[in-house]
Structure formats: C-alpha cells, structure tokens
Symmetry: C2
Subunit: 287 residues, 2 copies
C-alpha cells in the first residue's frame, strides 16, 4: 500500500514530496503540469531564503528541475474526493479509479476565486464541482457552467452533450465553446438561489436583479475547497484546521500550505510541506 | 522603537528578516558572520524546494548574497538575556547595551552539544554561559572552562586573567591558550556535581570516577538553551513551545526554527521564520 498521496503541486506539495522521497516513502503526487498557476504568475519573489529575487516563472523552472532530479512525477489527474477510512485513506480520481494509502497530504491551496453566494449552501443540491461525476443528472435539463480556466473546456463540451441548454460563464479570456445549445454570457453571478434545490442564478445589472432559471450549476475551478473534497474535515474560515504536526481532525489526513491559512507565502508552504512529510513518515513507521 | 529583534542567523532568522524587510518593519538581526555552522557544514541538501542538491556552503553563499541584496546586516554580538517587559521586550547584549523592541523572534537553533549532567541544575549557582558577565565572581578561584569553539578563546584568556587556576576543556581541535595558570585536558565531563553550589566536575576513565574540585564551570557555546536566554519561557523537552502563529507563552516573544522542535530541517525553519515575521508584523500594526 502507498505510504502517502500528496494532493497539490504548489510549493507545499513539492516540499512534502521531496521529503517523502528523502525518507524513502512510497507516494504519488497529483497536481498540474505547470505545477502552480499562482507561482507561475508571481512577478517577483523577494523573501524566499536561498533564491534572490526570482520571478515566479524562474521558480517553477527550478522546481521542475528538482522534481526531475528526484525522479518525482506530477500526475495530472483531478481528485474528486478523499475519504478517511480509519487506518487508511481512499482517494477517488476523476477517471473513476480509487486509490488507497496510509496517509494523504492535502496541499490543494486556496481558491483564487471567491465563492458565489449560495455555492456552499446548495453543494450537492444542484451545485457540483465535477462535470463527469454529476453531469448525467442533468440530461435534457438547463444548467449553468462557471469555469475559471480554459483547461476545463472539454468538460463544458461534455456537459453540452448531455444538457438541453448550457449557460456558460467563462471567468477567463478567449473562451471557445462551439455548440448550438451553449450560450456564453460574461458576467459574474451574484447569487445561486433556490429552495430545497437550486432554482436559478441571479445577476446584478445597474442595481437591478436579473435571474436565470437553471436546474443545476457546475463550478469548474483549479482547486476545490478542502471541505468539499474531504467529508468531515474540520475547517475554520475556509481553512483546514491543523496542529503543529500538520495533522487534521481526520486520522491519516495531513494538510500543508495555503489551505491551512495565512500567510499565503512560499516559505510557509515549504515549511509546512516538510513538516507534514516528516510526521507522515513517523506515522507510517508506527503502523 | 524597533519593531523586532531577531536572534539567530540560521535559515529561520534569515527568513524572518527577509519577510520583516518585505513588510517594511524596523529590526536588527543578531547572529554570526558565517550565518550558521550547521548550514555551512551540511554536505548536501536534497529536499529544500527551489535549490536542487546544493551543498551547505553553497546555501550559505546564496543566503549571504540575498541578505546583501536586501541590505540586511548580521550583527555579531552575543545575546545574554531576553526579558519580556509587558508591552516591550528588552534584549541584553554581551557588550552591556540593552535594546528595546516591540517583539523578539528567537531563532537560536538547538544546541549541537549535549548538556552535561548538572549543567541546568547548577546554572546560576556555579555554572555560567558568559565569561564577561560572571567572570569577576571567580577572582583568585579555581574554575573549569568547557568551550565548543575557537571563537571563544579570548573569553578563556579573559577568565585566565581573573581566576587563580583554569582547567580548560576545548571540544574542538587545535586549541591555543598560552597562560601559566591554564591546564588543558581533553576529555568530556561526565557530571557537574555539588550541593548548594558547584563543588567540582567528574570524569570517567576506564570505569573509574575522577573528580576535579572547582568553584565554577563556564560553558562557552554558540547558542544558549532558550530557557537560559529567556526567563519564564515555556519549553517542553528542551524546545520552545509555540502555537501556529509562532507565539511563545511570553507577550511579544515569538520563536522559529530548530529551537521550536523537530524536524530540524531547513524547509521547516524557512517556513517558521516567515510565519513568525508575518505575525510580528500584524502584532506591531495592532499596537
């Protein structure tokens, strides 16, 4: 069985992976090919000890080189859920596979996109983060898809093949979806409203409220809020609650980096990934 | 008034200083010209994100360059004591000067030298860490001086000028003290014994106990145990107890790096220095 599954390829996840490798632990690292959009877009990093005034892009190059040197691969597979099973942790991949490991390190960052009012309230009752998981529920129905990145366009196309009508809200430039039943609209939703389930999405235009009735809302973003990813996870103000050993309230699940709270700094993420990997190693040794 | 005094020029102290600089805080950084013996002696560092397989010496060069670029000076003055005064913190330097700041970040590392049995018990009752502070107490008396580094030889010479007789135990090679009343012996003390005060130092030789009667023992080492440096500081198993904001039990005193506990890793120290500086900045902003 794997010792650990690391979720997230920002600095915290990479730091954890490097230390797990140094400790001879077996693990898999899930993230994105470019490691982290946040790092890549950083203009200049001045306070990361050891690297004098590097750009984010330079930092990414250095990290990629280091991962290659340590023979660590970043697997670009989306994680749909993490389940604490007692002595093990199960991780559900987007492709349907279920992995089992002794531990998980959550290093999934913080959402760069503010939650929409009603998003958390209606999660699982009309709001979904996963097209391939929940798309089939909306056959011949009307849905709205809010997407933060071009990388999700195949998921939008997938949904367009199921639903009758798709309202598509890209939160990025140069969105390209060609399908007769897709209508693009470039404004930010103000509220997801409903009663027991989602009834629609509201917008504000010059002080006036406008509503679009939909059966469901898909929100496609780089990182899920940890509480949506891991059932029963204790959070406070949107951050995962951890102790000094980076343990969460769930057995075998650790967390590191921005997802555990401010400051959102590379140095902090580096430290927390290292500490999480250290205590994961100790935890696995005990078993 | 200074916002912060950072004690220690290892990775934790440097990380704190870089972030205090980035946050526009006023501070002074105390440490050693070569930053950290521990780093300098590290053969190879494999798990510090951003630096692929560097030697400790290369890491020191990178850190020095970065400090110079940020116009941060490491002041090579020994700290004799840190005193939480309520709304401010006083720091006593070896040269007699007393500095006042809103906060202190302890980044003094862990002792590389194991404590001698009786060292803590007789601290202030015959055991001293500071030649210039306590030397005058031993005029015409017999003392033992245990020294971990050549850099303390001027302190040994100073003590030889006061005491009647000095037993000198260098824990390093090529010790050079030339004085008639100094007798060098190269063995490790087993115990500092006494009753109300120190009476002597015991050694073990082929299973036999040997004792040398002395009036006082000076132990000269790079870093003092934090509990000896800061009165009233809460520690557990020799480590400073901190919360997730790197606050100690004393108002305005924060800690970061090896002194807060394992893992003794550069990545952890980097993270903790960053977090301490972040919450120091927040603390100063509130006042």
């Amino acid at each position: 069985m794997l010792d650990c599954i690391v979720i997230g390829s920002g600095v915290a996840g990479i730091s954890a992976a490097l230390t797990l490798r140094a400790n001879g632990k077996s693990f898999r690292l899930f993230g994105s090919p470019n490691l982290s959009e946040k790092i890549a877009r950083a203009e200049r990093i001045e306070n990361y000890p050891g690297l004098s005034s590097v750009s984010g892009a330079e930092f990414v190059v250095a990290l990629k080189k280091q991962l290659a040197g340590a023979e660590i691969t970043v697997e670009n597979e989306r994680i749909n859920g993490v389940f604490a099973m007692g002595d093990t942790v199960n991780v559900a991949l987007q492709n349907g596979e279920i992995l089992t490991a002794k531990t998980v390190i959550l290093a999934c960052g913080v959402e760069s996109v503010k939650q929409i009012e009603g998003e958390e309230k209606f999660l699982g009752r009309g709001v979904s983060y996963c097209a391939t998981c929940d798309g089939f529920l909306y056959k011949d129905k009307t849905i709205m898809v809010v997407s933060t990145s071009k990388t999700f366009e195949h998921e939008v196309a997938y949904l367009a093949g199921i639903a009758k009508k798709v309202w598509f809200i890209p939160l990025y430039k140069n969105a390209e979806i060609e399908a007769e039943n897709v209508e693009k609209t470039v404004r930010m939703p103000k509220e997801i409203y409903g009663e027991k389930r989602v009834l629609g999405v509201a917008f504000e235009k010059k002080g006036e409220r406008e509503e679009i009735a939909v059966d469901g809302v898909f929100i496609l973003k780089e990182s899920l809020p940890p509480s949506a990813l891991v059932g029963g996870l204790e959070t406070a103000e949107g951050h995962v609650v951890v102790d000094r050993q980076m343990r969460t309230n769930l057995k075998g699940i650790f967390a590191a980096g921005d997802c555990t709270g401010r400051p959102y700094q590379y140095a902090k993420a580096t430290g927390e990934g290292n500490v999480a990997a250290h205590y994961v190693s100790a935890y696995c040794a005990k078993k």
